[in-house]
Symmetry: C3
Subunit: 140 residues, 3 copies
């Protein structure tokens, strides 16, 4: 009887990964933006707006490297009002790769309010992937 109970526990432990109930997908997405094309900028703004409206707890992060910084730079952004508004949502964050800023001679002071930076945009993205966040490449 005692042995049976122990075997049962062992069996359950062994089987646990296979019988665990399906869970609802956490709504966590990292968006990868390298484009300077304003069509892509408008698309990501629309997705952030729609997803956050329908899922207020969704965690959304836009990581910009390559030419993506153009979306959040004061003199270049065509969506600056929307960016400023979205950046106030605590579940939405915008992070620009510091290497790409340096490569393009853009200073942090030129970024819109509420925009953060990361040392390495690619590392930020793959870290989110390893943490189980979904990944969406922005493009068209």
């Amino acid at each position: 009887m005692y042995m049976n109970k122990k075997l049962l526990i062992a069996g359950l432990l062994f089987l646990y990964p296979f019988i665990a109930p399906a869970q609802n997908t956490d709504y966590k997405v990292v968006f990868d933006l390298t484009s300077k094309d304003s069509m892509d900028h408008k698309a990501v703004i629309r997705w952030l707006t729609e997803v956050s409206k329908a899922n207020p707890n969704a965690k959304l992060e836009v990581v910009m490297y390559g030419q993506g910084f153009n979306m959040v730079t004061k003199d270049r952004s065509v969506v600056s009002d929307a960016i400023t508004r979205l950046a106030e949502n605590k579940n939405i964050s915008f992070k620009v790769c510091e290497v790409s800023l340096k490569n393009n001679n853009v200073d942090k002071s030129q970024l819109l309010p509420g925009i953060g930076t990361v040392p390495d945009g690619i590392y930020e993205i793959i870290s989110r992937q390893q943490q189980g966040w979904g990944y969406i490449k922005v493009g068209h």
Copy 2:
């Protein structure tokens, strides 16, 4: 002796995740299509055709949002015959984001036969990712 056996079981349970043999990768892919460019549409058709021919059990799903719906809409698709043929394969599915249909004033009745819809294309994609499906962004 009894204790040893229990410790052995406990040890094996503990180590299992680290010693489990490498498994063949399941061929499950979600394709992310936001482009209206027919070059991208032809590319995804070619990949679906080739992968499903070489791997009849591969699970393939194309999720369309943004402008991707153009690939599976009656009056706009330049690959409608191929789409209709591929959609008959039970391991291949095409799912259009209902938000993007609404945003573009496209009714479900305008979709090619066999095309499904999902309430939220991005959520569909990240759900597949969390289920262990591979992710491929269609683009060129």
Copy 3:
């Protein structure tokens, strides 16, 4: 007492996945390149150079299918010197899809030195994803 110890072990085994300390993200990335655009080729060269310089142990792999082979083909590449140099780094690999080579009538002998091939580029990418590598679609 004995039972308590067994329960403790069982409990720890059960809890292990939830209490394991956060680990640093391994820097392993598979880059998905389907573009023949030299701007994309220059971008991926820049990322490989910067990431490998800052993280000498990072594992980086570029998988080319679609039109991506143009980056590593003798007569077409505009970044051939950089490719040859990067390919000598044991932590960086370049793999071209054999199906795309065949579809475009490109022979392996036309590839730059150090460039490998894989039977199926998409399968290579999703295998890396399942092995926990980060995924980056190259595009702009």
